[in-house]
Symmetry: C2
Subunit: 306 residues, 2 copies
């Protein structure tokens, strides 16, 4: 799937992934009211509103971007109806040909990790009947528990052409509290980067990149440059652009000399573009068109520095 | 809730938490067949089987243990029907007066962490209507992203009497790959322990323990002793007993001189006790009674060393 992702980045000339992280205050009033009328002011109404909202975004951006990244927390918080909305969002985006990065950041071991792997990127076996449940192409994981928390996902990567993005350096203000500690003459995030790189060594595709990728926040540009040099075969998922304050220049160093190597996430900046002054003329009803314009502007902004 | 948990440990004279981590091969055939007859060989049948299985365990152990710890992965892998089974399991256990530790090990920041917090231990606000979705009393979290991944949960801890268990030292064989690295003249897990201890300083209850607890694996006894000394006000959730190989002696050092300070998890060793040679006489139909006996034996084994 890493090769397909990179092909789609080349086709669209756009290393942007749209973060489908809905919150109720980002959803246009008309969609909210429609669902409240049917389901009342309930978590079910919110879950249905998120799905409709997402479809409106996907319809307008699927030809311009390689991938979408739904953040499971926004759906999970609503309970079972939310999880169904997450699954239905993924199905819809897949029908439109998009690569799916499930932002789940799970972190567990042994039979627990195996359960996550089966559900999200593998198959759930009910006494011989096999079910694909979530159908993500990639998922994010937190490797703080070591190889035991990552290895249970390798089988699905190898046999079902799936991929992972493992947290190496995150984009939050206090990510350095642990990740920037010095260990064995390097930063902890570099040490983790070295492990991630090694774990992915035997899963490198035709593109030259491994199925085992890394999350590398864009908020500190020198760190991105250092990790790109250290991990030439590791593809990066880069959060932090836009709403979190990182600019195209900040993250340029996470790309290689061919202009590849990273896919950059923007969530609110795209899905709620219609709320921003610069896209206000689209109006709430055309929130999808506003998202489309925001994707075009982001693509051009990134290509400016590549 | 930390004070309630400790009171319940004293009442039951039992620092055991039963891990409700069902797998299909742990569920007695009669329950499986019943659900397959109704729902076919589907994830829905599995989700319903887990709920019925859990109820059979809870009915037999609720008077003997302070708490249960459902592992969300087992349910999540089944999709929306699985999440409903997780929620229904929690509701049932709460009706029986048990404290609920949701083993979710989430790790995210900002509005994402806030979403998890609202859903799991807080309230989801649908334009003024408030909903409790998962209703755990405690949840586990992975603190690798630093304070930004923990602080969004503090409000619910403070205002809704909830609690957290943050991963400090895990029980898996390769937990040392990152957690045992040397940083600033100590092990990384000790450094994390120091942070966890500090973060919980202003949430210490009448019991002398903070609402912010730690996960401390029992598989390395010296580490448990060191962390107990370092973190006198931090309550520990201790995995690793039984199926993962740790003995009562291995984890005795995680308790303080009053015989308090830890709650010890056992999952398979209790819920699938009926499959073990020593409890085989109960038979599949009496899997709940076998679990009850396993809880009594574990309680006595732990009290032997306290």
């Amino acid at each position: 799937m890493i090769d397909q992702l990179i092909n789609k980045i080349k086709q669209t000339n756009n290393p942007t992934v749209v973060g489908l992280d809905p919150r109720l205050n980002l959803v246009p009033k008309a969609i909210r009211e429609e669902m409240f009328d049917i389901y009342g002011k309930t978590p079910e109404a919110v879950a249905k509103a998120y799905l409709k909202f997402n479809k409106g975004i996907i319809d307008e951006v699927y030809d311009l971007v390689p991938a979408v990244k739904p953040q499971v927390a926004m759906y999970e918080q609503l309970g079972a109806v939310g999880i169904q909305s997450y699954i239905d969002t993924i199905s819809y985006a897949k029908e439109k040909g998009l690569v799916i990065i499930g932002d789940i950041k799970r972190s567990d071991i042994a039979s627990t990790a195996k359960s996550y792997a089966e559900g999200h990127i593998g198959l759930v076996d009910v006494e011989g009947e096999k079910f694909e449940i979530y159908k993500e192409d990639f998922i994010t994981l937190n490797p703080f528990l070591g190889i035991d928390s990552v290895e249970p996902y390798f089988e699905a990567c190898k046999t079902r052409n799936k991929g992972l993005f493992l947290l190496v350096k995150t984009s939050n203000p206090n990510s350095g509290q642990l990740q920037d500690l010095r260990v064995e003459n390097q930063y902890l995030y570099e040490y983790v980067g070295g492990l991630v790189s090694k774990w992915g060594e035997d899963m490198i595709g035709e593109s030259g990149f491994s199925k085992i990728g890394a999350v590398v926040g864009a908020t500190h540009s020198e760190q991105g440059i250092r990790l790109r040099a250290q991990m030439p075969h590791t593809f990066f998922l880069v959060p932090g652009y836009g709403a979190q304050g990182a600019t195209a220049e900040d993250l340029a160093g996470t790309f290689d000399k061919n202009g590849l190597g990273s896919i950059v996430n923007s969530s609110r900046g795209i899905i709620a573009a219609y709320q921003k002054d610069c896209y206000k003329e689209f109006g709430e009803a055309n929130y999808g068109k506003a998202a489309r314009q925001a994707v075009i502007d982001m693509r051009d902004d990134l290509n400016r520095v590549l």
